[in-house]
Structures are given as C-alpha cells and as structure tokens.
C-alpha cells in the first residue's frame, strides 16, 4: 500500500513547528510516532499536503511529577510510560494500559500525544485520561491552553485541538488516598485493538463508600467517552460487586457500539456490562490495597 503524495518537514524546535502549522493551516498534519497515522495514509483515509515530523523537537517526551499533577510529554512513547515506576505506583491503570498497546515495536515508537490527538475510538489512552479527569495542554504560535479531556473528543478522529496547535502535554491529577484504578481490555488476540476497553478509578471514603468514580470507555461509540451516568450512580454507594454490576448496565446504556469484525453490537453491549464490572472490581480491590 502506497500513501498519497505529501511534503515532509522536520522542524528543529517547537516554535518552528508552530510557525509552519500557522502558515500552512489546514494543510499540515503532525507526525509523531507514526503508528496510527501511517496506516491511515496508506489506506488514503488521510491525505494531508504536508507532514510535520516532531522527532527533532526536544523537550516533549518527559514525564514529570509536580506538586499539582503528573505531566506526560506528548511525545512520550508508550514504552517510556510503561517503564515509569513512579507513575505506575500511583496510577496502576497506566501500566495496565501501556502494556496492552500493540506490541513492543509499536510501544517503542507510538506516543501518548499522538494517540490522543489521533482520537481513534479504539485507542486505549483516551479512556484513561477521561476516567482520571485529566487534561491536554495544547500550544500554538499564539499561546497555550489547557483542555479538559471531558469535551476534548468530538467525533471519530476529531478533537478540540485547533489545526495550528500541537498537543504538548497530558496532565493527570495525583491519586487521592484510598484510590484504586484499572484498565481492562477485551481483545480478540494479544495486542489487538480493543473490542471493549474500560478505564475505572474509584476513591473510597473511610467507611468504604465510593467518594468519587471515573469510568472511561474505549471502542463502543464514535468517540471514547466517560460513562457519566454510571459514575454518578456509584457515588455514595458501598463498593461491592452488586453495585459494580449495576454500574456496568448503566454504562452500557450510554454506549453506542456498531457491529463490525470485533462482533455484533449486542455482544459488545454485553461486554461493556461485564468488562465495566470487572474493571471496577479490580479498581476497588486496589483501593483496598488488596491487589
């Protein structure tokens, strides 16, 4: 498969990249790891006039812990995130997710910012950032803004990023005490795109009731989305299996899967119910410190 023709530039700084995006607004597409974009180019589902390769732009691939939050550079690879012990200790969901993306070669090159900006409803990171109520920092030649994950994913392959912006950072909050998180992915074979993926985070209060809940769903709607009805239903409830089963049913009520090679829509709804319950159970057991 041969991609359509395009120009290619490799700016040496973020400022230079942003100038190019401003001057060629609407024509340019950003190239990060390439493991999402190149398949689309080969299928000619994307035919940009210009590719702006960020590989020579420094300072975008770090993982930093600040007093306020975690800041993961947009060009941090899945592998770098997978191997970050501090992040995994606070948010086990991160290691669950990173380790299940593609295969070692994909994780060597694919990046979290590329994955989120690409906004394939089957990609795993968006559901996690949604569940954790994280945000995306986007930079343009005109300045910087921070966009909450909730509201960021507009449609399949469409986000709130402007054509002149680069997604420079993914920000995740710190985990409060008695918090557990998990990502559970149903896939037909190892390393495949999710049939259903569920990101779950639960914070418990001293009595074992759920103080806050976050649920993000992969691959069962035109965008990744937060199962807000199920989240609301869990708050104030004692964390136990029955409540998680109920929450799975409510989450399925917000899902809009389509029938495809991963299975019929009805099956996917059944799997949303089950995988949501499993992800919540694992998150709760981690919150209790038993997993």
């Amino acid at each position: 498969m041969i991609p359509g023709q395009f120009e290619y530039v490799r700016p040496g700084s973020l400022d230079e990249a942003l100038r190019i995006l401003r001057d060629r607004e609407g024509e340019a597409k950003i190239l990060s790891g390439g493991y999402s974009l190149l398949p689309l180019l080969k299928l000619r589902l994307a035919q940009p006039a210009l590719l702006v390769d960020l590989q020579a732009v420094g300072g975008l691939d770090g993982i930093a812990r600040t007093d306020d939050d975690w800041r993961i550079g947009g060009r941090a690879t899945h592998r770098r995130i997978l191997e970050h012990d501090g992040l995994a200790a606070e948010w086990p969901i991160i290691r669950d997710t990173a380790g299940g993306i593609g295969d070692p070669q994909v994780r060597n090159w694919g990046t979290i910012g590329g994955s989120c900006a690409h906004a394939d409803p089957g990609s795993d990171w968006p559901a996690v950032v949604l569940a954790l109520r994280g945000s995306f920092t986007c930079r343009s030649a005109g300045g910087e803004r921070t966009l909450a994950a909730r509201g960021f994913f507009l449609d399949t392959f469409q986000t709130a990023i402007d054509a002149t912006e680069v997604l420079t950072e993914v920000r995740l909050p710190h985990a409060p005490g008695r918090t557990g998180s998990a990502y559970v992915k149903l896939e037909r074979r190892a390393g495949d795109f999710a049939t259903v993926g569920v990101a779950a985070v639960l914070t418990l209060d001293d009595s074992g009731r759920i103080a806050s809940a976050g649920i993000g769903l992969t691959a069962v709607a035109e965008t990744p989305f937060a199962a807000t009805d199920a989240e609301a239903a869990l708050v104030g409830v004692v964390a136990h299996d029955e409540a998680f089963g109920v929450a799975g049913g409510i989450a399925a009520g917000q899902a809009r899967p389509t029938s495809d090679s991963h299975g019929p829509a009805e099956y996917k709804l059944a799997m949303v119910r089950e995988i949501t319950a499993r992800a919540l159970r694992l998150a709760a057991s981690r919150a209790h410190g038993t997993a």
Binding site: G4, G34, P39, W109, G191
Partner: protein
Amino acid sequence: MTTQHVSVTVNGAVREADVEPRLLLVHLLRDVFGLTGTHTGCDTSNCGACTVHVNGESAKSCTMLAVQANGASITTIEGMEQGGKLHPLQQAFWDQHGLQCGFCTPGMIMQSAWLLGTNPDPTDHDVREGIAGNLCRCTGYVNIVKAIQQAAAELRASEPEGAGAASA
C-alpha cells in the same frame, strides 16, 4: 513530485538516496538499497516481518517513512553476521529449527536481538511477550523460544560480568 535527500547508516555503511517523502523505509531498504533480507509481510504493522533497528530501537519498517529515518543508524538482518560467522541468534534459529518457511525469520531475529539487548536473561514468558509483534505461521513458536533462549545463554556467557546489553 519533488524528492528529498536521505542519508542513513545501514549496517555501518553510509548510504544515500533521493526519495519521495511517501516512500516507506522498508522499500528504501529493499528496492533502493537492494537489501532484500528485510521482508514485507502484511504491510499493516501487524506481522513484524519488516522489523529492523532504527537508532537501536526495533521498528516495523513498513510503518516508518524513509525520510523519518534520515540521519538514523539502521541495522538489518544483513548486518547481523560478523566476519563470516553467524550471529548467535542466527545460529540458534538454525540449531533449534526455529524456522520452517523462513519468511518471518529476519524480523523475528531482529526483534529477538532488540529483546536480548533490553533483557539479557528473559523468562520464556518474557520472550513470548517480546516477540508478540512478530507472527510465525509455521513453527508454533516453541522452537523460536528455544532458539532465543539458546542465543541468550550464549550471549550472556560471552559478556564480561556486569557489562553487556543493559546499555543498549
């Protein structure tokens, strides 16, 4: 369409070409440089037959543009044999019957070499995880795992204590 100049170091030798930006790295290696040891399998980044090393990291060369690799150092299967002697992985695939048709073997060996560079003493499970992006339709993988373990043991024995692939 305008072309762009690329200069890459392949198996230690500098090679240059003028290419369309849309040319894939695997096609640069095979069609322009004549290095046909790297195979094109699925062309969709699933099968791993096209795996090479780019600046030391394993990559599927069907999912990288030649212009992305401009300036990079690339190792292909042709670079594994040294001085007429097969690389321990190549010898081990031979010894352990780690191939039948052989189509996946170049990519399998390049991915195995990357794996042993990051994890010189893997469990069988680590090996299977490490080659999860490389498909073999003949062997059932059992002899591939044996071959990688044979090579891992040999490479560990040949490395001085405390040195070795951890710096890769």
